[in-house]
């Protein structure tokens, strides 16, 4: 039986340092993460929040921060009614040099069986990480309308 989790691997022509900054700086995330700010001081134990406009969509705490190689935080959804009651999950970013480029692995785990949140993040991460790769490689990113993701609550 496979665990309910989401894993995504991509390869980006960038440096580990730039990728780390793109994951932890709102200046970057607002451009590729549906205009979302990431709020944290990125120290282990510190709070973490994703803020979209005036809505705090997700909160958690920093579990690991080893710049520029590994970052993880707990992730509790706060916005959509039917996902708000699910327990906190965990997001892990692993950054590895791969030849002259960088391999990024995102693991989102700790979902309950039948999780609605897992369905939503499985649609969200590929769009976010595609935008991240475009931004780092080309300096620009075309916004993907959230409604295009098929996450019904966004519609």
């Amino acid at each position: 039986m496979r665990k309910p989790e989401f894993i995504y691997v991509t390869y980006i022509e960038t440096t580990p340092e730039q990728l780390w900054e793109a994951l932890t700086s709102s200046k970057f995330t607002r451009r590729y993460w549906f205009d979302t700010e990431v709020r944290s001081n990125w120290k282990v134990g510190s709070p973490f929040a994703l803020v979209m406009g005036d809505k705090t969509t997700d909160t958690g705490a920093i579990l690991e921060a080893d710049p520029p190689w590994r970052l993880s935080y707990s992730f509790k959804h706060q916005w959509f009614e039917e996902m708000r009651n699910e327990p906190a999950t965990r997001v892990v970013f692993t950054i590895e040099p791969h030849g002259g480029i960088v391999k990024l692995t995102v693991t989102h785990e700790g979902f309950i069986e039948g999780s609605k949140l897992l369905g939503a993040v499985s649609r969200g991460w590929p769009a976010i990480l595609s935008g991240l790769k475009s931004l780092l490689e080309t300096g620009k990113v075309f916004a993907i309308p959230p409604a295009a993701l098929g996450i019904e609550q966004f519609n």
Binding site: Y11, I101, P126, S134
Partner: protein, 149 residues
């Protein structure tokens, strides 16, 4: 119980037509698919193959051909140690999403616990990352050691 299948979605700043060409043209695939050229008459039922330096690496037949929306083919890795694994299936779905194109690759009909599954799970992210780079920047990713095709 979930069957072993691999699904990968990426969004690329391109058009469905260019993406279609990138998936079906040998000169194109050679650039981002780490030297592997695809060749086929691209008719339903016709054979296709990937080859590198004149050696066939992947072969199969075309199952679906609906340009520029949906392509699928059977997938038989030609490595001798994979000969006993069953023929699997690859499907590419292309959907316009505003100024970008959503590409979903589904690789299914895989043997449970087979080597093909682990090979392609490592290989597709490399190939599709390189494809996205080529279409968006004009340059593929530099050579990587790929376990799959």
């Amino acid at each position: 119980m979930s069957k072993p299948e691999f699904i990968y979605t990426t969004y690329i700043e391109t058009t469905p037509e260019k993406l279609w060409l990138a998936l079906t043209d040998g000169d194109f695939t050679e650039r981002y698919w780490f030297g592997h050229r695809v060749a086929s008459a691209w008719e339903i039922g016709s054979p296709y193959k990937f080859s590198k330096q004149d050696k066939t690496t992947i072969a199969g037949k075309v199952l679906t051909f609906e340009p520029p929306k949906r392509l699928s083919y059977t997938w038989d890795n030609q490595k001798p140690d994979l000969a006993h694994e069953r023929s699997s299936r690859v499907t590419f779905d292309i959907e316009p999403r505003g100024k970008v194109v959503k590409l979903t690759v589904t690789h299914d009909n895989l043997d449970d616990g087979g080597k093909t599954f682990s090979d392609i799970s490592g290989g597709w992210p490399m190939v599709l990352a390189s494809l996205k780079s080529l279409l968006e920047t004009g340059q593929p990713l530099p050579p990587m050691s790929s376990p799959a095709a």
